[in-house]
């Protein structure tokens, strides 16, 4: 048994594969946060005055806000003055052909090739490296279909009317502490616009990479789907292995007009910290979709395996009549990771539907919390919600917590909530092993089965990726 324990220890300490650092000349803003820093940031990006003013307004509001403490997370104090709010590779290429080979190599290593020869078939990628987008693939092909897919910086320059119309219209400037901070200092992100009646011809994807030390990443994503359009979008995230915590505070806004459909998938693999809880990304994210139009549909799917701390609640505001929202989530916490995640489904329109499938997996000393709100407002006649919330525990030192909030103000609403907590049982493990499967394989198979309902919502190639990621993240969880 002693040797087995050692094997497990070894597997447990396996390196986080995305933990490398790219050695590239980087331009920084000095650490610290003030109105001056925000003006400098805005000037660096040649932003119009309205954008600078918007940031300053957010900043002034942020100063008045307390740090939220309601989540079931233990977080040390964050020193916002010690963070650099802008870090970017010095060379700024005009097109993908001129991108520094070191950057291309970085994305190759992460399995997201950007250059012409090796581009992922059928997936357009926007690559965000620290504070800036370094390139977007398939732009011409998308433009031919009328789809705009570019970095947020470019969108502010080239499509100011669209940005002004929609930015902050789903997540207002003063929505919450981390969203306000993001409004003040966001540096880049992706912008997607799908015009009326267009079905986006390929998957869109943004790959976020934190590389620089002592910086935070504050990205902003905005997706607008006009009447009758469809888009499927995926984001991935990784960061180097470091002993310091790094801050990531993003805001994602989705707008779906009449009959539009947005499918948003996330595979989050930020550096989780080591087995003692040293280092790792603090991931504070505000994601919200507005089903503004009738019969619109927004679907969130997330696989959260990384980050030391995850604080995110991708939500849907079901404003349009007959609109629907979905949330499919797998959140895994191992070692000392903590996650407080879930969703909010706000039913405003008539006959609105929402569905929540949440799968939490806790291993090691990981703490995993599901926090969800289902709210049916006065006018939401015929609203319908189904929530299924399952927790799986591996080992004896981890925890799973569930906080479902339900507020119903219309008598016709039907709200269902089902929750289960289970352990990978010795019986299940023995059964698998007695058929010839090794212990680790048995665990990943049982976990994979547990997550099946969520994985099947992911685009095919990412479902495979997510499964692999879960296996790696769970290595050494049994013992």
């Amino acid at each position: 048994m002693a040797t087995e324990r050692n094997d497990i220890e070894e597997a447990l300490n396996r390196r986080y594969e995305a933990g490398f650092v790219t050695d590239i000349e980087t331009e920084y803003l000095p650490p610290g946060l003030s109105e001056d820093v925000i003006r400098q940031l805005s000037a660096k990006k040649h932003e119009p005055q309205w954008m600078t003013d918007w940031r300053l307004e957010a900043y002034r509001h942020w100063l008045t806000m307390p740090v939220p403490e309601w989540a079931k997370l233990k977080i040390g104090p964050i020193d916002f003055q010690s963070i650099s709010y802008y870090a970017a590779p010095k060379a700024r290429p005009k097109s993908l052909d001129e991108v520094d080979p070191k950057l291309l190599e970085t994305y190759d290593k992460l399995g997201v090739p950007l250059h012409e020869r090796a581009k992922l078939a059928g997936v357009a990628v926007d690559a965000v490296f620290d504070s800036v987008s370094v390139g977007t693939t398939f732009r011409k092909e998308l433009a031919a279909a009328g789809v705009i897919f570019c970095s947020m910086s470019e969108a502010i320059q080239e499509h100011p009317e669209l940005v002004r119309k929609y930015l902050g219209s789903v997540v207002p400037v003063a929505d919450n502490y981390f969203a306000a901070l993001n409004c003040a200092v966001f540096s880049d992100g992706s912008f997607v616009f799908i015009p009326k009646g267009v079905r986006c011809p390929m998957e869109l994807s943004t790959y976020f990479r934190i590389n620089a030390m002592n910086t935070g990443q504050f990205e902003r994503t905005l997706i607008v789907a006009e009447e009758g359009s469809y888009v499927s979008y995926l984001e991935g995230c990784t960061a180097p292995q470091r002993d310091e915590n790094q801050l990531h505070a993003a805001v994602v806004e989705l707008v779906a007009l009449d009959d539009a459909q947005i499918k948003y998938s996330t595979v989050q693999n930020w550096y989780p910290g080591d087995e003692n809880g040293i280092g790792g990304i603090y991931n504070f994210v505000t994601k919200r979709g507005d089903c503004r139009g009738a019969r619109s549909k927004i679907s969130w799917t997330q696989v959260e395996t990384g980050s030391a701390i995850t604080w995110k609640y991708p939500s849907c505001v079901l404003r349009g009549d007959d609109s629907s929202g979905e949330f499919y989530s797998v959140a895994l916490t191992h070692h000392a990771q903590q996650a407080d995640t879930g969703t909010k489904m706000i039913h405003l329109g008539r006959n609105t539907k929402s569905k929540i499938i949440s799968k939490g997996i806790s291993a090691g000393r990981g703490q995993n919390t599901y926090r969800g709100l289902v709210k049916v407002e006065k006018g939401a006649e015929g609203a319908r919600n189904y929530t299924q919330c399952d927790s799986l525990l591996i080992g004896k030192k981890c925890g799973a917590h569930t906080f479902p909030y339900i507020e119903v103000k219309h008598p016709s609403a039907i709200v269902e909530h089902e929750a289960t907590t289970s352990k990978i049982s010795d019986d299940q493990l023995f059964y698998c092993r007695s058929r010839g499967l090794g212990e680790e394989d048995a665990v990943s198979m049982i976990v994979d089965g547990f997550c099946k309902q969520v994985f099947k919502e992911l685009p095919m190639e990412f479902a495979v990726e997510a499964k692999k990621l879960l296996e790696v993240s769970l290595e050494g969880a049994v013992g």
Binding site: D426, Q428, C432, R433, S434, R435, M445, I446, G449, Q453
Partner: protein
């Protein structure tokens, strides 16, 4: 093939097997009968390598291997199969996928090439045909929501697919109606061969009408107290296990 000598096993501090010995040769079918609590299931579990059993004395050789030194998955790959009394449900894991992973893990251990999906499916179809099982079970999650009979049928199907050298059936007949019982027996009989052995653990004689054993052993109070041919099973059926106690009284007082 399997040689158990003087096996003593404790569970939670209590001695359950108290010096059990058994010798199984290739091609033989051994039935192990005995009253509840005699240690029948303990024997199956210990042989398959389940945790929680403390082996305090004795040896078990399987082929040229010391069985007790092997992990459960190694025992499986060496050709030992346990059909569970209570097959375990694994929600969300497709039955076919599970079996393919298990078979390939065993093949890998034995240094054989892994089967690709086409080869595997061919094998599956072949086994389904001889066992007269519908392929409907294959598309469902492992044992999830299966009826008692379906679970046992699935165990036999797994056994057929994994082609073990030694199969242990732990009360596979319990809770089965006569049709399901026949199906299980047919599966076993079909697999009987000169180089494969079976240990059939059962409480009732009924199963042995369909799977005719070469040897019948009676397990009581942690050791084999009586061995014989299939007629022993009939005697037990006739007289009940109490008959054994009567026969064992002198022996007991001698201890």
């Amino acid at each position: 093939m399997l040689k158990i000598e003087n096996l003593h096993v404790r569970v939670a501090g209590k001695e359950i097997l108290k010096g059990l010995s058994l010798d199984v040769k290739p091609g033989e079918v051994h039935a192990i009968m005995g009253p509840n609590g005699a240690g029948k299931s303990t024997l199956g579990n210990v042989l398959a390598g389940r945790e929680g059993y403390e082996i305090t004395a004795g040896t078990v050789d399987f082929g040229d291997k010391d069985l007790l030194q092997l992990e459960p998955e190694e025992r499986a790959a060496e050709g030992l199969f346990l059909a569970f009394q209570y097959p375990v449900e694994i929600p969300g894991v497709n039955n076919t996928y599970f079996l393919k992973a298990a078979l390939n893990a065993q093949r890998k251990y034995r240094g054989q090439a892994e089967l690709d999906s086409m080869q595997f499916l061919k094998l599956v179809r072949e086994k389904l045909r001889v066992l007269h099982i519908s392929d409907e079970l294959l598309h469902r999650a492992v044992n999830s929501g299966f009826s008692g009979g379906e679970k046992k049928r699935n165990e036999i199907f797994q056994m057929a697919l994994l082609e073990p050298r030694l199969a242990i059936l732990d009360e596979t007949d319990s809770g089965l109606d006569i049709d399901a019982l026949k199906m299980v027996a047919e599966g076993v009989n079909h697999m009987r061969s000169p180089d494969r052995a079976f240990i059939v653990i059962t409480h009732y004689q009924r199963l042995l009408d369909y799977i005719v054993p070469d040897f019948v052993h009676v397990l009581a109070e942690g050791r084999i107290v009586e061995s014989g041919d299939k007629s022993l099973a009939h005697k037990l059926e006739e007289h009940g296990y109490a008959w054994l106690d009567e026969r064992r009284v002198p022996e007991r007082s001698a201890v």
